[in-house]
């Protein structure tokens, strides 16, 4: 693919952790200091101060697993919701376009915390959804709206000529979308989706209010019985930091691989 047919359009959405790029020396160094610093600090606390900290590290691992499950489940579902709603936002059908736009507007206007309560408790009166699934659905519903805007912007960033060329080759609109536009758009939307993933990982801590035993809930349970608030939340913060930094690095590597293919 030549350079000018696919202009690299940066899309600034979300509040994910800064993803370090190789050429951004300052941020790259900061990433290394934070990531390895956090790991060293964790090891120091666990083995240097085992009386206070070892018990916390033993208490929270199943919470980390739940945090992962919620995050990964929610991001996959949010991508599906987002793609559907994003295409809907570009649709020329007035009804589909209206429905997709309404979804985006309503969801973006309600705080995630309120949505979580709503889907879990308010809808719980009518439909029976197991706890972890309602957490995943609520998170995906919210993030799907943001994801829709990313997909819409990503698709729109592909020059019109691409669609015109595909149509003139005899492709149908949906065929052109699937085979020409979307593959290019995916490359554009990958960085903002990576950002959303990291934001979602952090926001997943909100599901602890639903009595879902995620990392934060496990920490709160530990602290509320031992009263070691400082020690507990230090560990919880460090674990979240290590996870987000790890994933931001992973995403930046993925991006580099994709760019090499250009």
């Amino acid at each position: 693919m030549s350079e000018h047919t696919s202009p690299h359009t940066p899309i600034a959405v979300g509040d994910g952790a800064a993803i370090p790029h190789k050429n951004d020396a300052g941020l790259f160094t900061a990433w290394r200091i934070a990531f390895f610093g956090a790991i060293v600090l964790c090891l120091f606390l666990a083995f240097g101060r085992p009386d206070q900290y070892m018990a916390i590290f033993m208490f929270v691992p199943d919470g980390i697993l739940v945090t992962f499950k919620v995050t990964i489940g929610a991001i996959l579902l949010a991508i599906v919701f987002g793609l559907i709603a994003g295409l809907g936002r570009l649709s020329t059908n007035r009804f589909i376009n209206g429905a997709a736009s309404l979804y985006v507007e309503i969801i973006r206007g309600i705080p995630l915390l309120v949505q979580l309560f709503y889907i879990y408790y308010a809808l719980g009166r009518f439909v029976k959804i197991p706890d972890i699934f309602s957490a995943i659905i609520a998170m995906a519903f919210c993030y799907g709206a943001y994801m829709a805007e990313i997909f819409r912007a990503g698709i729109q960033s592909i020059p019109k000529g691409q669609m015109e060329a595909a149509l003139s080759l005899g492709m149908s609109r949906s065929q052109a979308m699937r085979q020409v536009i979307l593959p290019q758009a995916f490359k554009v939307v990958l960085p903002p989706i990576g950002n959303e993933f990291i934001a979602l990982l952090k926001d997943s801590s909100l599901v602890s209010i639903l009595a879902v035993s995620d990392l934060l809930r496990r920490g709160r349970e530990y602290a509320s019985e031992t009263f070691n608030y400082f020690e507990t939340y230090t560990v919880i913060a460090l674990i979240y930091l290590i996870m987000t930094l790890f994933f931001s690095k992973l995403i930046s590597i993925m991006e580099e691989r994709l760019n090499e293919g250009r």
């Binding site: 719980g124 029976k128 706890d131 009595a211 035993s213 709160r220 349970e221 509320s224 019985e225 009263f227």
Partner: protein
């Protein structure tokens, strides 16, 4: 002479005012998690009311202090005491050895026990152990949560507020709720949405005493409150408060 008299009377009035200011009853700030009816809750007028509130007001009156209540989430209520945001906690706090190691308690002012609430559709379960393989809810960091965790094979689910646990049981996500007897009675026997759905099973299976919590080493306040508690009990004021709130 007249001027002198006016001056003296002014001085006397001023002195009297200062004296009353000093003699005015000391005010203490007390935290409570008002999500634990009928012990402490927020009424329709957004006022914090309940057994503990009336009881502490009576104690304070006997001890000659005034109380300012502060509604605080249970999860972290002890941390707020550590950081000095309030002087004491009255929030149905059971006196336990673990808590006594970190905080000071007054004498126990009432005794209660933990009890199990299950849906009416459950005809067989009588104890926590009967619910092996199922989920039981309780409020985070309470003695109820500790009791659930003690039973192997039961999945413990902790909630920020006990009301959310009952709501989750109404939605069918959990099979039982463990909490203090009076709270269980309030939700399972009095609340009209739940009366039809839930029942209390068995007898209370722990013996616990509620105490007022203060920062470790605050002997002055513990003594003052204990004096008030003794006086309230001697006058049998607590029995009156009990009939008012716990039916």
């Amino acid at each position: 002479m007249k001027a002198f008299r006016t001056l003296t009377s002014l001085v006397v009035v001023f002195a009297a005012m200062t004296l009353t200011a000093f003699a005015a009853p000391k005010s203490i700030k007390v935290a409570t998690d008002a999500t634990w009816p009928p012990m402490e809750m927020v009424d329709a007028n957004k006022q914090i009311v309940g057994y503990d509130i009336d009881f502490l007001n009576a104690v304070a009156k006997e001890a000659g202090v005034t109380v300012e209540f502060k509604n605080t989430a249970w999860d972290g209520i002890f941390a707020g005491l550590d950081s000095g945001q309030y002087d004491a906690i009255i929030s149905s706090v059971t006196i336990t050895d673990e808590r006594k190691a970190k905080y000071d308690f007054t004498d126990a002012y009432t005794s209660i026990g933990q009890i199990l609430v299950v849906p009416k559709t459950d005809k067989t379960s009588k104890t926590i152990a009967d619910l092996k393989g199922k989920k039981i809810g309780s409020q985070i960091g309470t003695t109820g949560a500790m009791e659930v965790k003690k039973v192997a094979g039961v999945e413990s689910k902790t909630y920020d507020e006990i009301g959310l646990a009952f709501e989750d049981m109404a939605a069918g996500r959990i099979s039982g709720v463990v909490c203090d007897e009076p709270v269980a009675a309030h939700f399972a026997l009095q609340k009209k949405e739940y009366k039809e759905k839930f029942k209390i099973v068995g007898k209370a299976f722990t013996k616990e005493g509620y105490g007022i919590v203060v920062k470790k080493g605050n002997k002055e306040l513990v003594d003052l409150l204990n004096k008030g508690i003794k006086s309230v009990k001697a006058k049998k004021l607590d029995a009156k408060i009990h009939t008012k709130w716990v039916k």
